[in-house]
């Protein structure tokens, strides 16, 4: 018996000894090549799985052909992404050269010294930001300095069933009427169970959908002194609108507080809802017959009711701890400029005017004109280093109101007060 066990242990040991050096060899080979100049260097980019990873990974070989710099793109799943990137940036990981974050994190990492100021690189290379859509340029600046390049633009569109709704709603009032019409509990003839839905899951998407109601009804997040104004009349009206759709009129599925992009998409794909406010990324999923067999030929998109869209941009920046900043800069400037068209062909949405208007691309990506139109009146979240905490407070308020724990007014009063307190403690209102 004992002999057998020893034998087993020994074979295990042999296997591991046999395997270990093999893997360590591959890991050293990729880090040791090239010290001189940027040619032959390998830069490491970390990207969220999905369209960002897929398109950057596809562009890597093209970039290498043009510049001789190799790109190693690391893929991280959606839920784990921010955790991982923050650890690497805050831990000053030299192994990470280029990081992708949403524009509202640029302020935080710029103020904390994790992102390199791109000014000197732009001057040296004679690049400017004129080819980008103006709103996206604003999104990557912190205290008038550029810390990132806008890479991938996201906005929300109204997706609706064109077989049921010939004229999409132009205002939130029309939207509410249509939502009732296509909810079975209100109208037994309705082919869909619910009229619409809401991305109600606590987190960063939920406030982003809400802003579009809020802004359209006349709300603003801050006044000119950066004092929060969420509990304005417009704020209460916008939150009451959303909460009533969910709690009172029940035109939204009862589990909408667990919905984010994928859940809303799946509700629409399965003909559970007749319309939804959804990220533009849904378009390519919906028109794909294998992914959306029930609705691929029955859907259409348009601007959100009242037309004040939310936009954000995944922005690409250089880690200050990187040892290969020149090569890293070449990559981020190439992929958002010369490579932008190829990036779009690979599935992305670059905030580059000439690409969004390119007729050849519009044939491939019919949603581009809607995205460009949405941007005209679109708004962004401000680039405050405190934004992640503020966002947390806003989603907390919305969630409490959706859960019925607090009235929309009380919830927003509380949120507004906590934001004010936070910014005051950071010295925002000192004279």
């Amino acid at each position: 018996m004992r002999k057998k066990m020893m034998l087993g242990a020994l074979t295990l040991l042999l296997i591991t000894v046999g395997c270990a050096p093999a893997t360590s060899q591959t890991s050293t080979s990729s880090t040791t090549n090239g010290q001189a100049a940027t040619k032959g260097e390998t830069i490491t980019v970390v990207a969220q799985s999905g369209v960002l990873y897929n398109s950057l990974n596809k562009l890597g070989p093209d970039f290498e052909k043009e510049t001789g710099i190799k790109v190693n793109v690391q893929e991280i799943g959606r839920d784990a992404y921010l955790q991982k990137v923050s650890t690497q940036l805050l831990g000053k990981d030299e192994g990470l050269d280029v990081a992708l974050v949403l524009n509202n994190y640029v302020g935080q990492f710029a103020a904390g010294g994790q992102f390199e100021d791109l000014g000197p690189f732009m001057e040296k290379n004679g690049t400017n930001l004129e080819h980008f859509l103006p709103a996206s340029v604003q999104s990557v600046k912190y205290k008038e300095k550029t810390y990132a390049m806008p890479l991938e633009l996201s906005t929300m569109l109204l997706i609706y069933r064109k077989d049921l709704i010939p004229n999409p709603p132009k205002t939130w009032e029309e939207y509410a009427e249509l939502a009732e019409k296509f909810t079975q509990s209100k109208n037994p003839q309705s082919p869909t169970e619910f009229g619409t839905t809401f991305q109600g899951k606590r987190g960063y998407t939920q406030p982003k959908e809400w802003y579009q109601y809020f802004w359209a009804m006349g709300g603003e997040l801050f006044d000119k002194d950066t004092k929060p104004t969420l509990n304005s009349e417009a704020g209460v009206k916008a939150l009451t609108f959303v909460v009533d759709n969910f709690r009172k009129h029940k035109v939204v599925p009862p589990d909408a507080t667990t919905y984010e992009f994928p859940e809303v998409l799946s509700a629409f794909q399965n003909e559970k809802v007749a319309m939804a406010v959804e990220w533009n990324a849904a378009y390519s999923q919906l028109k794909d017959q294998t992914k959306s067999p029930k609705v691929f030929d029955k859907f259409a998109v348009t601007q959100v009711p009242d037309g004040v869209s939310f936009i954000h941009a995944w922005s690409i920046a250089i880690n200050t701890a990187s040892k290969k900043k020149e090569a890293a800069y070449k990559f981020i400037s190439w992929v958002t400029n010369e490579g932008a068209k190829r990036y779009a062909l690979a599935g992305g949405v670059p905030p580059v005017k000439s690409v969004l208007q390119d007729p050849e691309l519009i044939k491939e990506r019919p949603e581009f004109p809607y995205i460009e139109a949405a941007i005209n009146r679109a708004k962004l979240e401000p680039n405050l280093p405190e934004w992640p905490s503020i966002q947390e407070m806003i989603t907390d308020g919305i969630s409490k109101a959706l859960a019925g724990e607090k009235s929309p007014k009380d919830a927003l009063d509380e949120t507004n007060a906590s934001i004010h307190k936070l910014l005051e403690s950071r010295g925002y209102y000192k004279k």
């Binding site: 296997i15 270990a20 990729s30 799985s49 990873y53 893929e75 831990g91 992009f261």
Partner: protein, 270 residues
Amino acid sequence: MIRKNGWGYGYVSIALIIFLFPIFWVMFTSIKTPVQAFQIPPVWMFKPTFENYSIVFSKQPFLYYFLNSLIVTVLSTALSLFVGTLAGYSLARFRIRGQKWISFAVFFTKMFPPIVLVVPFFVIFRQFGGTDNLYTLTLAYTSFNLPFVIWLMWGFLKELPESLEEAASIDGASRFGAMWRIMLPLAKPGFAVSAIFAAMNSWNEFLFALNLTGTQAKTLPVMAANFVTQEAILWGPVTATGTMLMIPLFIFTLLVQKHLVKGLTMGAVK
């Protein structure tokens, strides 16, 4: 004293259904097409497809990450069993000053939520030896498994009568020999439990694998998370990976279980 009891079967099957159903559902979903996976009411009769499995193999270097997981699990389990057993034995047999504090300190490390340790671990490993290699991950896992192994082996070895060892040394065995030949075989159930838990912890661990690895030393749980993409959760590949992730531990537990049960009942009733 074994009687047939209809109720007994009932209770057992209720318990089994409750904890096996989610696992069954994962396997069941992994052989459905995306459309079937979300049909309501669920489809029970369909032609199984292995398309999800082929997606996993074509989109990700599954075997490479599988090997990473295996190496890290085997190494960290072996290392923590070796070090932990010796430490447990020492605590049980030798008079060590401040033993009370040592036992507390061993437990203390398990009182944090692991996420608190992520950034410190990352900074430490970045400075010594670097991240994204299997040795780093092995060391990290060993440090999580050790307290558990020490505590468990200590408990088991303490309960064994010292006279057995004395008898062995009268017959000429060294201290180490007595421990190796007499005590360890008797503490086999403790050893088996430690092995299963250490292997389980290491095999399924996600948080540290995520933060301490990049592309080279990535393990399977982190790979599985890559199917949660920006646009959609690819449930098919996620469940297919989950199913394949379960198999090795399942086999390992089956192999070790024999020792576990035998040891637990042995000598229970005199």
